[in-house]
Subunit: 369 residues, 2 copies
């Protein structure tokens, strides 16, 4: 029981936060490991004992209401073995069993059909019905139904975390909800695809062609073997659609975007960047117009006085233009496996903070150190 070893007294009784991960791939195992590694800090700073109650993949469901060892389960997964072969289980093949065991948060990271959102969407709905907060790690349910899920959750005092479906460690959705409250968003502009930005940075900084820069990003494990989803702008379009539907207009749909990617980059753009000493960025942009919101994804040349100029390599950024709070830019957010895990943990902590007074307890999180 590691909590007895924590170095400082927690002011209030430690509260249990029981969570489960549906879909145990790279992201799921990184989260289980990260939460395990940060257990002492979470107990000290938030008064929470975050306990992994269950995991599942296609091969089976593993549940232990007293808590699984996140580090051990992550190693099991990373050695390539399915959950169904784990000696502790599986108890069944139905992730709905998580709810019977009693969980506070369900992390949904099932590979999902982007046209139907299934099976993640069904499971997210079931979680809300069972009284659990939902943290989405997969884009499908967020793309199709985030506003709807948020309404369903709100009626039960629950929250939906979706950081990992948009900017990972770059704050976007929850930032806008909290920090732009009361203002109207007139425009969202964002650099959201790390792979494209790494390639564009390589093309400019090292004078490479698109093919050469892509090949290097693939060798470095940054670009996928089939990079089309990223370099054709679809990843940016999906993330922009999630943001736009949640923050500007729910009627917007992915098929309203005709993304222009960075493959086959117009030589005129490259030349203009060279002449003006600008830099090329793949920008997703949603602008409020009289008859709705117009979404575009396309490469743009940005000058040295534009915040996106400094967004190099795998970094990301988002700029919200508002009426009452001016322009606000957030930048940062690398998207390695641990960054995603940290973003998911952040959403888990926020869900509890917003349904209990414990968020303010972080006020003196370092005091006892």
């Amino acid at each position: 029981m590691r909590l007895t070893a924590r170095p400082v007294a927690v002011r209030e009784a430690v509260k249990l936060l029981r969570y489960a991960i549906a879909g145990f791939g790279n992201v799921g195992s990184a989260l289980a490991r990260h939460v395990h590694d940060r257990a002492d800090r979470i107990a000290r700073s938030y008064g929470l004992d975050v306990r992994l109650i269950g995991v599942c993949d296609r091969s089976g469901v593993l549940i232990d209401p007293s808590g699984l060892d996140g580090s051990e389960i992550a190693r099991w997964r990373e050695s390539g073995r399915p959950i169904g072969d784990h000696p502790g289980g599986p108890s069944s093949c139905e992730p709905e069993e998580f709810f019977a065991a009693g969980i506070d948060v369900l992390v949904v990271s099932l590979p999902t059909d982007r046209h139907t959102g299934m099976p993640g969407l069904k499971l997210a709905r079931a979680a809300i019905g069972a009284g659990a907060h939902v943290v989405l790690a997969d884009k499908g349910p967020a793309l199709l139904a985030l506003p709807e899920l948020e309404r369903e959750a709100a009626t039960r005092g629950l929250t939906i975390g979706a950081s990992a479906t948009v900017g990972s460690s770059l704050p976007t959705l929850s930032f806008a909800r909290r920090e732009l409250a009361g203002a109207e968003i007139v425009e969202i502009a964002a650099v959201l695809n790390g792979t494209s930005n790494v390639i564009l940075t390589g093309m400019r900084a090292e004078g490479k062609s698109f093919r050469e820069a892509l090949a290097e990003a693939q060798r470095a494990g940054i670009a996928e073997p089939d990079p089309s989803y990223d370099v054709e702008g679809w990843d940016t379009a999906v993330k922009l659609t999630i943001l736009t539907r949640a923050l500007m207009d729910e009627r917007c749909r992915l098929d309203g975007v005709n993304p222009v990617g960075i493959d086959g980059l117009d030589p005129e753009i490259v030349e203009r960047a060279r002449v003006t000493k600008g830099r090329v960025r793949l920008v997703g942009r949603s602008i409020r117009e009289d008859d709705g919101v117009r979404m575009t994804v396309a490469p743009e040349v940005v000058g040295a006085e534009d915040a996106f100029y400094l967004v190099e390599g795998p970094r990301k950024a988002v700029r919200f233009r508002t009426d009452d709070l001016g322009d606000l830019v957030v930048s940062g957010g690398a998207s390695g496996r641990r960054d995603v895990a940290a973003a998911l943990l952040r959403d888990m902590l926020a869900s509890v903070a917003c349904s209990s007074p414990s968020n303010a307890a972080t006020g003196d999180r370092r005091r006892d150190r």
Copy 2:
């Protein structure tokens, strides 16, 4: 009753949010006017009927449990007349009467002694005791007691908003709480004083001396007649101390900072900026070290690849360096009177969002438009 005229159906019953403003100066009257102007939007987007129940200044307290007209009261104040002369009141001289009338949020914008935090601190404590959220518009109580107030509030399920004491429309405190949850802040660096930055921008862009740029900022109404609090770095030091105590180490105190301002700017710095094509910024910085957190305020030369390079004129920025979520930079945040009002409204909405499910209702705020 303007709510009957709102253009769209609100899904759930409109909920009352009753607030009062203690200390009715420029900021208070700007808030009353802004909330009045945004009433339809707040009803439509948040399902809230935000009603001003009371205001007070040194001359008296004006209370109407059925709601004051924020626009009318703001005009009264702006015409230079004290609240005590208002025909609707005053009912007494004790702002504690707000609590008897029943309020959900108290906005504290009393001119406060920075050594004792009084009288704002006493009133903030009384508000918490009476079950009201607190939004601080004055730095005194935040500087001395924000973590303590947050703990007191948390035990009662209440929140303390403090945007306006640090960056106004630039998100800082609540951003860190929500978006850095689970990570450790290793360093905070920030450009927080608009006046100094306007002067520095004028010195560089127009080749002015400090005296000339200051005089111009004074003519433009940006710098105070006595600019020492801003240009000697104290404003930055106060804001940095509020941030650092809340987010890094509650033991930090303002007297642990020895600010170096931009008055008497070292000519060597100006020359280095010129030669390197850098820009001078007044940077507040808190760094975690083995034996605590070290806070400094001093002018720095930043290069073209630094996020602070683009923070020109009255803009502000903050960079959080963390272990698990990398570096995150937020920039923006002009600090005119309406920007401060919008930041206060944001804190008011957040306090309610976090104590009810209504935050998620903003998910489709534009849907009905």
